[in-house]
Subunit: 209 residues, 2 copies
DNA sequence: AATTACTTGTGCTTGCGTTCACATGCACAA
DNA sequence: TTGTGCATGTGAACGCAAGCACAAGTAATT
């Protein structure tokens, strides 16, 4: 893959999964190629923004024609390192955790939740979607299983200790749904999704005055 | 409330719920006042960023002393229009929808999901957390109930039609969990949370090379 | 070969957001 | 009343991101 020497904006990285998803669905709808203009309308991003985002990584389109959807999707998968399956572990098999385990949408990006943990003795040993819930004390097996990604869906007050345990088990990427700031070594990436926080902005936007 | 004439950055609005949450939890831990430095460490934001964010709305602190947590929380609630309870409707009582209905964390910001809809005849009439699931065909009652906020947790291919129905029912703010771009009139605010998209960035960050 | 229609890739401008650095102001003590 | 310590509030500098506008390149037609 041809690579530019420029710094890549983090906002660009943030949009790439959105683009990839859009391309996959366009393919499913029977399209084979698309212009930046049409694609921009489809995913809700300005067309020159899209062209610029791609330009950081190479020249993926054909002037006067547009982009080959299949080819572009492969390029983006490569950039995001989504070419191979990524195994992930989920800690906290509660309401949200169960929903995420059952969510087929993660497959689109090549993710597979292959290990689930909890500390509730009533839940340990049971299964969700054919995956047995394990005792969180056995988190150490992630190293053996070579799992690098952890998803935290435990209550807020258990989030930091869970993160610590994940790091100890060799995890280098954490997706955190608990509404709190988590401290990790700087070689570990944490992405926190604060669902309630998104909703909390709504009244500001929709209330007159 | 004293108001500056400056334009307020959207990123500032995005951080306010985070601040409010941090303040509430600090209060629960017994603190009464906090400095921007300490608070910054607590929520994971640079301290001068915090001071600047507040400065768009007034002078909430005391020089040499810090911020009165209770007072600051009230100010932020006022800015975000979270002083009164906001009723919300949720469409799609599936895995994710059920988790969100059961989530107590929305109360912190004053949200109350008072109406739930689905189109599955097996679900209509049943209850989740004492809330009866209604037929989505009856979405029109939102106008009578004066509900302004809708939460979409239906499958992707039903998201746009659900949004259309919500808009028709008078909703002006939509929190959308479906992985797709939704088109609405410009007096309606849509916030889309693409959970899988967050996870999809992880391999880029944690993979060497 | 020349013309037309179309769309990409990108230099440049503009705008937005973050961080620095310090003057300002408060509290408390001597 | 003066001095010391501390933390806020903000102008100014910096850095990052978005969008414009057009040259460059492709395809199809005459
Ligand atoms: N439910 C939602 O829609 C929602 C929305 C936004 C954020 N969240 C956040 O996600 C997290 C989980 O929410 P939930 O509604 O699924 O809660 P839940 O109580 O249904 O589930 C939490 C699970 O974690 C387990 N657990 C508790 N402590 C543990 C520990 N130390 N180690 C391992 N497992 C442990 C519990 O046994 C339980 O199964 C919370 O932090 C919550 O704030 C939830
Ligand atoms: N489950 C997750 O963890 C998760 C994560 C990220 C995104 N999402 C997204 O959230 C949405 C819901 O996911 P889910 O896992 O809860 O799916 P689900 O299938 O469990 O639930 C969907 C619900 O919507 C109902 N429904 C379908 N069409 C409808 C219509 N036209 N009107 C009203 N109700 C309708 C169904 O009867 C069902 O109860 C999907 O768009 C999914 O992509 C889910």
């Amino acid at each position: 893959m041809y690579m530019k020497h420029k710094r890549i904006p983090d906002e660009t990285i943030r949009r790439l999964p959105l683009y990839l998803r859009g391309l996959v669905f366009l393919l499913q709808e029977g399209h084979l190629s698309v212009s930046s203009e049409k694609f921009g309308d489809y995913v809700g991003v300005n067309s020159s923004q899209i062209r610029k985002d791609f330009s950081y990584f190479g020249e993926f389109g054909v002037r006067g024609v547009g982009y080959d959807i299949r080819k572009l999707a492969i390029e983006i998968k490569g950039i995001l390192k989504l070419n191979e399956i990524h195994k992930a572990a989920l800690i906290g098999a509660g309401n949200l955790g169960s929903a995420i385990i059952s969510y087929p949408g993660l497959q689109l990006y090549g993710f597979d939740i292959t290990a689930v943990f909890d500390n509730n003795t009533h839940k340990i040993g049971k299964k969700i979607r054919d995956i047995e819930i394990l005792d969180v004390a056995k988190l150490g097996i992630l190293k053996k299983k070579n799992i690098q990604i952890g998803i935290i869906t435990v209550p807020r007050n258990a989030a930091q200790e869970t993160a610590d345990a994940l790091v100890k088990a060799g995890v280098t990427g954490i997706l955190n749904f608990s509404p709190c700031y988590i401290i990790v070594p700087k070689n570990v990436k944490v992405i926190t999704i604060d669902i309630a926080g998104y909703l909390a902005r709504m009244p500001y936007y929709i209330t007159a005055g």
